[in-house]
Amino acid sequence: MKLQTRYNYVNLATTIVVLLITGVIYYQAISWILTRQKDKDLKVEEQEVFEYVGLNHHLPQIFESNDQQITFTEAKPGSIQREFINTDYFKKWGKDDRHKNHRHKGAGEYESGRGLISSVTVGDKYYKILIVESKVETEDLIRLIFTITIGVILLLLLVLLITNRFILNRLWKPFYNIMKELRLFNIADSREIPKVTTAIDEFDELNLVVVDMAAKAKHDYKDLKTFTENASHELMTPIAVINSKLDTLIQTENFSERQSKLLNDLYSAVSRLNRLNQSLLLLVKIENRLLHERKQINLRALVEEMITQFEEIFHDKELKVTYQLEDKEIYASPYLTEVLLSNLISNAIRHNYKSGEIVIGLNAESLVVKNTGNDDELNGEKIFARFHKSSGSEGSGLGLTISKQICENFGFSLKYSFEGVYHTFRVEF
């Protein structure tokens, strides 16, 4: 969710809640004030009745009025408590309300009203006075005031939202610019993130931090590259010496069978050490994205070439190789793609049994290398871990780790599954 949207949501939610609360308070306040006003009117009316009774010693004549009704009822002396009540006001239809009269049965309708119950003694008789006034006008007034207020507030809110939108968009512009720069940032290339000055301190600071960070990352990356190269050089040189000494040693002739066996073992150990070192360096390079050369590659041609390359080895192990290849172009590093294919195919050979099967499939979605081998399913998580090896494997234990890294580097995924008798590795593009 965008910050602005989120901000607007929160803003809207709080405004609405506050508005509702204010509305309720406002309504209560106005209605309290207006009710007090009504009560005052009622008291005046009561006073008039008292004065009339005091002067004339009989009950006043009851006049029909549009918004006031007074009734007198005889009651038991002392039974009436003086109180204000909310009650219904029965409004009779007037003459000009004739059209209403047609539509509604009855002589009028009930409206909400306010009443005052009081008592008066006329001679020896005790009367209950009920004065009721219609509250319709009051409520209409409240409604009107309330509506206008809500309207104004809503308008204000709308205006705020619109201005916020424009202002925020403008305010956040430097932020998006910095983001764009960051997205373009490539640790390996020489382009720097430009320093920009904005009117906002926070963004200036962010820009500064980003520029610093990028410079530091580039510096560290360069260090790392140097380290990788140095490590490579330092390790490769002694291995090269051992290798060349072995090559020289075998020229000296006259070896016993035991000696040649020892020499052979030395050779394979050195070549394993060499491959292990190469693999480690390759892994470091891939993980640090040091190999970023990319080309359009015809994967089908490359797979076919690989299969030809491995032909002797397939033949030697009497493996039955079947393949079905469709055209597929990928945009990737040719070197790494070759390493990936070579790793997958060598694994399919290495973990196969004599006269086993290898099935290679390529289509627009995926590249699949299946092989027969051990009957047990492999642990799909562990096999991609560094130095995870099946017992007796001659490999470096890095092959699948490298393969997975290469796939991730290109945005592909590498998955293992066990399908029937086939151990299946699937590269999904």
Binding site: I242, D247, L291, D316, S346, R350
Partner: protein
Amino acid sequence: MKILIIEDEEGLRESIEEYFTGDGNVCETAATYPTALSKINMYRYDCILLDITLPGGSGMDILKTLKANNHPDGVLILSAKNSLDDRLDGLNLGADDYLVKPFHLSELKARVSAIIRRKTFDGSNLLLFNELTIDLLAKEVKVGSTLVKLTRKEYSLLLYFIANKGKVVSKNAIAEHLWGDGIDMANNFDFIYSHIKNLRKKLMEAGCRDYIQAAYGMGYKFTDQ
């Protein structure tokens, strides 16, 4: 052939020198940048084996000096850096080949022979070895006047053997030469055997002497002695 070995690692330098000396080859060595620089300015070589990281300077600068003075010496870069940038830099500067450490001496010898063959190209593309005639352009092999049909790998193997004649070449080295070091089928070189068997059979059927000898189960030796 006169060869200059510029390499700071003593062990490696000595092995290379020993492997290359003899059979009409003369080797000189240089262990530091200044020695190397003075040697290339004073003498001409058929091929210079050039290490990149040297005490006192970079091998790349030696290469630049050579090219700036239009010296025709063949240059093979020996580097521990298996990085594409370095390889391209080296080849762009005019090096003839680039070999990554560690390497087999037989591989180095084969590469150097190829460079020298190209440099001393004198109108004929023929490589002669007793009754064997190899047309390097047409990639044809003849025994006397009989054409021998070899596969790509067998042809490459034969050239490799001739470049390393008289030397024991290990199975490891042969495997890496033919399949590259990407294919690591350690301890399983049976498939090399079948290639050698076929090559031998084809050559002998065409009337060639049997030059390929197995050497103590470690490798093979191509020799006319």
